[in-house]
């Protein structure tokens, strides 16, 4: 069977001509990461989300047409310690009972030269949306590729860390978000 489909695909590829390019649209969750760094009393503390769903489509030949949608399960947070995990799921922080997911939807991707790009879109956490931009890089790796980027958000823009935690001398307002998405090209012929 494979012997038949391969030439068939080659013919289709030829027919499509040189405009046919690889579109990366399968995110590999095990090799991807959504992490963050908060500052507590001047101390950088690493955290991450264990569960997220990301849909991307990216063709290096047509980066402007790229799209991304990422849903993060806030209950899967690792905030550095058990005590912190419990706290950030609670009302003052993410309030996961009412707002279980945070989401990002892209609006545009702009090439910045080389393998660097700028992603713009809308980030929604705890029911509050903000437009944001983030620089990222794309690197081809074997049959797939790797997106890596980071941006800084202000947690109080999303009412994350309310009540006594709104004191930014203890936990800084700025939180750095770092993302890494490993992707594969779409399975041929599907």
């Amino acid at each position: 069977m494979a012997k038949i489909t391969y030439p068939l695909f080659a013919v289709l590829a030829l027919a499509a001509g040189p405009v046919l390019a690889v579109e990366y649209n399968q995110v590999l969750p095990d090799k991807s990461q959504v992490a963050f760094v908060s500052k507590q009393m001047g101390v950088a503390v690493d955290g991450r989300f264990r569960k997220f769903a990301a849909q991307v489509s990216f063709d290096p030949a047509k980066p402007e047409a790229a799209k991304a949608k990422i849903d993060i399960e806030l209950g899967s947070v690792d905030a550095g310690s058990q005590e912190a995990d419990d706290e950030v799921k609670d009302k003052n922080w993410f309030n996961i009972k009412q707002f279980p997911t945070a989401s990002f939807v892209s609006s545009s991707v702009k090439p910045l030269g080389g393998n660097r790009y700028e992603l713009a879109g809308k980030l929604t956490i705890k029911g509050k949306s903000q437009d944001m931009t983030a620089p990222f890089t794309f690197r081809q790796e074997g049959n797939g590729g790797l997106f890596e980027g980071s941006f800084t958000l202000k947690r109080l823009d999303f009412a994350v860390g309310a009540g006594p935690w709104s004191d930014t001398d203890t936990v800084a307002n700025e939180v750095q978000v770092k993302f890494k998405f490993a992707v594969a090209a779409a399975a041929a012929g599907t």
Binding site: G42, V43, S81, P164, T170
Partner: protein, 180 residues
């Protein structure tokens, strides 16, 4: 009165370390019971800063002592008591160096870097490792209770010398106030 006293520097360092230990120890006991809050994060940081300060002062004391030996004990103190006093002092020095170190390592292993006074980050010598962190936490606690026991003994001995033996063992470590 033999008149052989510790140097002013040694006296100053001794009491500075004593005061900081009397602050850090109860704060340590109190803070671990607190629910997570901005206050808790602040108190933890202050506790760590005090610990780093104790470590620095302890090192300064050891360096100072090498060049300015402690005055000899009065001949009235029996040899076996001098031996116990000497051993206790060595242990006390060991602990005021080891306790801040254990706290720093524990903090690193639990994934929280120590940033002295909120500005000077100390390197993390250990990777984040929860089990190791818990073991170091136990060590930190154990060393602290050992220190508490030795400090009580140290104070008891000083008072015994002052009130019962009526020698100058305590006086020679007191700040030179009111002595002209």
């Amino acid at each position: 009165m033999s008149g052989v006293r510790y140097t002013r520097t040694a006296i100053g360092l001794h009491w500075a370390v004593a005061l900081l230990i009397f602050a850090a120890f109860p704060v340590g006991l109190y803070m671990v019971e607190l629910p997570l809050s901005p206050t808790k994060l602040k108190i933890y940081s202050y506790h760590k800063w005090v610990g780093v300060t104790i470590f620095l002062l302890a090192v300064a004391r050891l360096v100072w002592r090498r060049t300015h030996p402690a005055p000899p004990m009065p001949a009235s103190v029996p040899h076996w008591q001098q031996a116990i006093a000497g051993a206790t002092h060595i242990l006390l020095y060991l602990l005021i160096v080891a306790i801040p170190l254990s706290g720093w390592l524990m903090s690193s292993a639990l994934g929280f870097q120590t940033v002295y006074l909120g500005v000077l980050p100390l390197p993390d010598l250990l990777e984040k490792d929860k089990l190791l962190g818990e073991q170091l936490k136990f060590l930190h606690m154990f060393l602290n209770y050992t220190l508490a026991a030795l400090v009580l003994m140290h104070i008891g001995a000083a008072l015994k010398h002052h009130l019962i033996d009526r020698d100058d063992i305590l006086a020679r470590m007191l700040p030179p106030v009111g002595r002209r």
